[in-house]
């Protein structure tokens, strides 16, 4: 019983069995988090470094808590204020950290493929905490885990991923994960924010009409508009985006059913999601955050055991 991979670089590389094993493990780790002592000693001989070349609140805290609750030693590194600004290369930076006897790397990087590149040059397990516009695998795992928790399973469910699909690593990882688990996926957003051949390439439905997509789905995963990742204006204004694609109470009330609302955070309140929806009973946004710790613990638990990987 183990994962088919040595690193978690993306959901793309996982099998359905891998994902189910992660969920099965996360179920029990979630129980650990409800105990008076929310900690197990499993990784007490493991040191993990969190290398963040890009800003993060939720993901970094979530990983750090996951590591600590498995009993691991944790060191944090963020690019700002480090020797990266002196021109040190990625491999040098990481190898210097590893030579201080670190057993595992969790990395976020703004360059697509950075963890894949790194995995060819170092011999410890790497967990991708988000790379450029490629993948954010642990986010997709916690999203699917939260759907499974709320609706009983992912198989056969209809999930709409709404907003900026083009720049979103959350969207790509979610599509891989949901499809592998047997869900149907529709991506919805302005045509400028949806990659041209996505329907054929990833076997998803495409819609440009938010109401139509919401009426179809069981779950809507509303993505953040990523202003920092856009080099050119792809819609005329936030106000216009909000009018055309924002999910609000009036829109949800006009549907004939109650759908589950998700958001990976941080929310631009009043842009892609209105506050009365984000804070309502049909939103599972805070469950997602809670489940993030358990699913990340499961990933770390299943990968840390691997003996050093030599390429």
């Amino acid at each position: 019983m183990s994962l088919s991979v040595k690193h978690l670089l993306g959901i793309r590389d996982l099998t359905r069995q891998d994902i189910e094993l992660i969920f099965q493990t996360a179920d029990q780790l979630k129980e650990v988090l409800q105990r008076p002592i929310k900690k197990v000693p499993t990784l007490r001989d493991t040191t993990i470094v969190n290398v963040f070349f890009e800003n993060s609140t939720r993901t970094r805290i979530s990983f750090e808590l996951a590591e600590k609750r498995l009993g691991a030693d944790v060191v944090n590194f963020s690019a700002s204020g480090s020797s990266v600004s002196k021109g040190e290369t990625l491999i040098d930076t990481v190898n210097n950290i590893l030579s201080m006897k670190v057993d595992m790397v969790v990395m976020r990087h703004s360059a697509t493929g950075a963890p894949h590149f790194l995995s060819k040059h170092i011999n410890v397990p790497i967990v991708n905490a988000g790379d450029g516009i490629n993948e954010h695998p642990t986010q997709a795992l916690l999203d699917a885990f939260s759907i499974r928790e709320r609706l009983g399973s992912v198989e056969g469910k209809k999930v709409a991923i709404c907003g900026d699909i083009m720049h979103s690593r959350v969207a790509l990882s979610n599509i891989y994960c949901l499809k592998k688990l047997g869900a149907e996926v529709t991506v919805v957003g302005p045509p400028t924010l949806i990659p041209k051949h996505i329907a054929k390439a990833l076997d998803v439905n495409v819609s440009y009409d938010i109401r139509e997509a919401l009426a179809w789905c069981d779950v809507a995963n509303v993505l953040r508009i990523q202003l920092e990742r856009q080099n050119m204006p792809l819609f005329s204004s936030l106000r216009e985006y909000s009018l055309a694609y924002g999910v609000n109470r009036a829109l949800l009330d006009s549907l004939q059913k109650e759908i589950v609302i998700m958001h990976p955070g941080p929310i631009n309140r009043g842009v892609e999601l209105s506050s009365d929806v984000a804070d309502s009973g049909q939103s599972i946004i805070l469950d997602q955050v809670e489940n993030g710790v358990a699913t990340r613990m499961a990933v770390l638990y299943l990968l840390a055991r691997k003996e050093p990987v030599f390429n």
């Binding site: 019983m1 183990s2 094993l21 099965q24 493990t25 179920d27 029990q28 780790l29 129980e31 650990v32 105990r35 008076p36 002592i37 900690k39 197990v40 000693p41 499993t42 001989d45 498995l70 638990y301 299943l302 055991r305 003996e307």
Partner: protein, 176 residues
């Protein structure tokens, strides 16, 4: 394959173990039973239901404990195991805990179980009940307080406890 306990002998042994528990814990006021996942819970389920039958008006606290995250062989080849459910919805603080498992062999499972259990509080006392005690095989100084059957088996032999719920019949066998 040699039979150690037939289904009838197994039933009698479980009956005896239940009576021994009553002898020491009459009333079960401060006693909690904890079965160890994954295989110990079949025994603990039987004993719990036996006790309920023998003492219909007594409340008996009963939970299940998984020790996967406390194992000391996590990094070895066979160490990585899928965890099972832990279900302990009561405090064990100042309680008399009876840990229940099917086979006592090296003692390492019980060591892990004691660590796992202590995360739920500080019990007044801990006892161990096992169906089969493979004596002379201990790697840690751990002994049982209630024993179904003590056997001598060499390292290459395996003791397998079969349960009707899971394996279709009740029997304890020794596999060479």
């Amino acid at each position: 394959m040699k039979s150690i306990l037939t289904d009838r002998q197994l039933a009698i042994t479980i009956d005896r173990l239940s009576h021994q528990l009553i002898e020491n814990h009459l009333g079960f006021k401060d006693t909690v039973l904890i079965g160890l996942q994954p295989r110990g819970i079949y025994l603990s389920d039987r004993i719990y239901h036996n006790l309920k039958k023998l003492l219909p008006d007594t409340h008996i606290a009963y939970g299940k404990l998984d020790i996967t995250f406390y194992r000391d062989d996590y990094k070895s080849e066979k160490g990585l195991q899928a965890p099972n459910e832990t279900d302990i919805n009561f405090s064990i603080e100042k309680k008399r805990v009876v840990l229940i498992d099917d086979v006592l062999y090296t003692g390492r499972t019980i060591r892990s179980a004691m660590d796992a259990m202590l995360d739920f509080g500080r019990p007044a006392a801990v006892e161990l009940l096992v169906l089969i005690d493979r004596r002379f095989s201990r790697e840690l100084p751990i002994q049982s307080d209630y024993t179904g059957r003590t056997i001598d088996a060499i390292i290459t032999e395996r003791v397998k406890v079969l349960w009707k719920e899971r394996d279709g019949k009740d029997e304890v066998v020794l596999i060479a």
